[in-house]
Each structure stands twice: as C-alpha cells, then as structure tokens.
C-alpha cells in the first residue's frame, strides 16, 4: 500500500510539469507589416523562431502577409479566455484589425481583451516602440491604453542592457546590447508588476527584454526593441516562449530539440 502511494505521488509529481505543457496554447507571429525593422529582416527572424518552436513541439502560425491581419484577429478572439497560454508576436506594427487605429477604442479592443483573462496571454513586440503602429498611428497611446497606465512611455536609445542571471537562464541566445526603446520599469502602475527582467540597465529603471504581468492576467514582453543590429530576435523569442510554455529553463538554441527530445521520452 505504501509503495502504491509513493508511486502515485511520483507519477503526480512527474505529471505536474507536463500539465503546464498540455495547458500551453498556441503562438501567432505577424510580420505582414513591420515597423522600423524591414520586412525581410523580420521574416528572417520569424522563420528562425518558427523553426525553433516547431522543434520544441509548440503549435504556431505565422501570418506573413498584410492581408492576414484579419486572420490574426480571428485567431486572437478564439485564443482569448480559452484556458490556455497563447502568445502573439509582433514586429513593431499593431494591426488595426486587433486595435483600431488612432486609439479609437481605448478599452475593450480585441488586443486588450486578449490580455485581460487569467489565461495569462502574451504580446511580444520586437524592433520598435510597443504598439506604436505603422507610421505612428497610435504613438504613445497604444501602450498607455493597453496597460491602462497614463504617461508610460518607451523613449530612450543607446541604453545599455545587461543580461540578468534569470535572462541568461531563460534565453541563452541573449547577450548584452543597447536598446533603442526600452521598457520603463519605474513607470509601472496598478497591478502591473515585473515577472522577469531578462536584461536591464544599471539601476533597473529600463529593461528589454522584460516580462511584465497585469496581476494574474496577461503579459507584455517588449523584446529587443532596436533599430537594426544583428540581435537574434527570433531565437530569443523562441527561447522565452518555450520557457513560458514550460516554466522551465531551456538549453541554448542549438540544443532545444535535444531538450524536448528528452522531455518527449519522459512523456
């Protein structure tokens, strides 16, 4: 009887991390329109990200045409409040199909609703001011409305970002660099809090990448918000997504499939 109890406990303990795997949802990557980063460069990074997610067994869809913003909106509505952790990756643009342009819908947009459930859903943004939108259709208001924080901004450039120990564990591809539009941690308000700062400046007032979470609701992840440069945005995104889905550190990019191979063997 005691052995049976121990076995059941062991099985339950082994099942715990697998539960989070099964609770993981899907990833949508949108490069139909990009902002500040060229589309070709964004597609190149997205392709790397897709490859690594495929290797990790994470379901993903890449919307690479501007005509697919409506499909992205459909995906987002279906992923909202579905009990799974879903992640949308943007490259600077914020399609009007999910957030009406000019901040016309300050509350209740498809995008905002996406991050306002206990699923913990996520927006990742690369390469420019988060939610700025093509040609500045939202400007600072995009981020401020999405976070419901008046006055929060992402200005700065040449800001040194030094990888934290957590950042190094989560994303081995992340190295020290200079961010052009880092997140201002000293402007967080309400229930928003830092979940993990992966790279930050000396006093921690600026960070990029960083995972911030709205209490037990959704998350935002500004990630390598630079103009140009060769930072491996796609690989870093894949590593952070994998960590979020797994809630466990991963191996460097080249070893991801090995790690998942071992996990699959356990399963």
């Amino acid at each position: 009887m005691r052995n049976i109890f121990l076995s059941l406990t062991l099985i339950a303990l082994m099942a715990l991390p697998l539960t989070s795997v099964f609770a993981a949802g899907e990833v949508a990557i949108y490069t139909g329109i990009t902002q500040w980063i060229g589309k070709a460069a964004a597609d190149e990074q997205a392709e790397i990200c897709v490859g690594m997610l495929d290797d990790a067994g994470i379901t993903n869809t890449w919307y690479d045409s501007d005509g697919q913003a409506g499909d992205l909106a459909d995906w987002m509505e279906s992923a909202t409040g579905n009990g799974a952790l879903d992640i949308c990756v943007l490259y600077g643009d914020f399609p009007p199909e999910i957030y009406p342009e000019g901040n016309a819908q300050t509350d209740g947009s498809i995008a905002e609703t996406f991050i306002e459930t206990t699923d913990g859903d996520v927006f990742i943004n690369h390469a420019d001011y988060m939610f700025w939108g093509l040609a500045g259709r939202n400007r600072e208001g995009g981020l401020q409305n999405m976070m419901d924080i008046d006055g929060i901004v992402m200005w700065d450039d040449d800001t040194p970002m030094v990888v934290t120990s957590e950042g190094a564990d989560i994303s081995p591809s992340l190295t020290d660099y200079a961010s052009d539009r880092p997140f201002h941690t000293d402007e967080l308000d309400g229930d928003w809090e830092i979940e993990v700062s992966l790279a930050q400046n000396d006093d921690g007032t600026r960070a990029d990448p960083i995972i911030v979470r709205d209490g037990n609701l959704g998350r935002l992840i500004p990630m390598i918000q630079t103009n140009g440069g060769d930072e491996p945005k796609g690989a870093i995104a894949a590593e952070v997504i994998t960590w979020l889905m797994m809630q466990t550190p991963v191996e460097p990019a080249g070893k991801l499939s090995t790690t998942w191979g071992e996990l699959k063997a356990v399963r």
């Binding site: 980063i37 700025w132 500045g136 450039d157 040449d158 103009n227």
Partner: protein
Amino acid sequence: MRFSEVRIPRWRGFLTSLLVLLILMLLAFACHERASSPLVGTLPIQTITTPKDEAVMVYVPAGEFLMGTSDADIEHFKEIFPLRDIARFDNERPQRSVFVDAFYIDKYEVTNIQYKRFLAETGYVPKQYLDYPPHNDPNFPAPVLEWEDAVAYAKWAGKRLPTEAEWEKAARGTDGRHWPWGNEWDGTKLSGNDGTGLKDGYKETAPVGQFPQGVSPYGAHDMAGNLWEWVSDWYDPNYYRTSPPNVNPKGPETGDGHVLKGGGWAENLDFTRCANRQGGNPGSLIRGFRCVIDAPPEE
C-alpha cells in the same frame, strides 16, 4: 644741436616701417581668420532672411568637407558605443571628401508657425502633421512626418530640401567632427534624451534655438536632436560604397524611403551624430525639416 643733426638713420626708419607693416598685416590676418573661420560657431555668421517664410538662413561657403565615418571613427565608436554592433555603422562608410557649392540653410528647423502659414496660404492638406500637444506650440519645430509634406513647404517658400551632403556639411563643418559642437558628447547641448526625459526642461521637443551652445560651425541650431530632419536624398544603405560623385552628390536615383539626419529629442549619443543616417521605415522617429537655397556664385 640742430634738428637736422638728430635725424634717424635711414636704415632704422626702414626697419620701423617694416615692423609697423608687419604688425598691421598680422592684425589683418587675425581679423580675416576670425571673420571667415568656418569652424567657430560663435563668430560672425553671414545670414539672410527670406521673405516668404521669414526664415533666417545661415551661409555655408563652397568647399570640401569630410562626409561619413572613417575607420578611425569606428575605433572610437568601439569605446563610446561598446554594446553597438559595429555593422550598424556600415551605411556611413567609407568616409570621403565631398565638395558642395555655397548655399544658405535655415538657421532653425521649420516651425509650426511657419508651417501653418504655408497651410493657410495654400490649402495644402498634409498627410501626417502632428498638430497637437506637446508638439504644436508656435515656435516648436513642425513635426512633419511625411517627406512629401516637407517638399511641398519648401516649394512654397521658394526653397528646397538640402541634399544629405549639404545637411551634413552644415552640421559638422569641414573637420569630420561627430557632433555639431565637436567630438565629445555633451547632453546639455541639444534637445535630446538624458535617460530621464526631462533634463532639458521639455517633455519632448523644444522651441527652436534653445541650445546655442550646441550650434553648428556655420551657425545652424538644433542640427543634433529636437526633430529628425528630412533631406532630399533617397536612402540606400550601400550608397557610400558605390563610389558616388564627390561633387554636389544628390544621392541614388531611388531607394528605401528618404534619408533622415540629426536624431531627435528622444535620442542620445549614437543617433544624434552628424554622420548618422536613417532610412527605410522611420518607425518611432519623429521628424521635421529645414530648407536651403543656392548661394549666388560670387559669395
């Protein structure tokens, strides 16, 4: 002793005259240098005021200057931008000597009061003009986000946008300096970003001409910071490597958007360098412009 007996020997008189002449020549030479030196921004600057837009313009003489970024600069950048990928500076290389004819350039960025006068007189409807706070006070630079809207203003004023070469010469003079005031970064000399956002006293842009200590060698203000500035050239990141003309270059025939220069109020060391050039999708760069006219040949 008779007067005739105390006369100065002829050879001493000749020496005295020579000395006086030498002193006068030295004085004249010194004055000439002070008046014409292109590298000292506090000295007399030749200006005109154009009637249509009532803009003060400063004179930039004909001649050569160093355009772009040299290998030595790159070594310096490794120290001041240790976290930047050096490949980031490839679009500024190689540095070359470029000749441009004499021209006048607006002393300040085109302001809202000037741009609104243009809109009122012509009925022109800009594609993207940020006519709202905190950018739209009369003496603030006009945030004209689209290149075509800047060109339309320039035509109305009887002017044109500067070429990238003209803009860069007006900003850095002839000696290849990094910023309009020299080679050392100084965040007090521009409407720029110090990491806290309010060091210069302005939330975002500043009224034009508020940072005279950062004036360019020819007397142009705000060539670093405040608003990014449109120039007439198309943007091609590889243009400098194609051995372009070194006399009055006008940029490639076509490209990925138009070149932006000078950095903006949100920027810091790197983007505000005179040689920095941005093209393609300008992203969250807030941009404006200033204009030029050709100077008469005799100047």
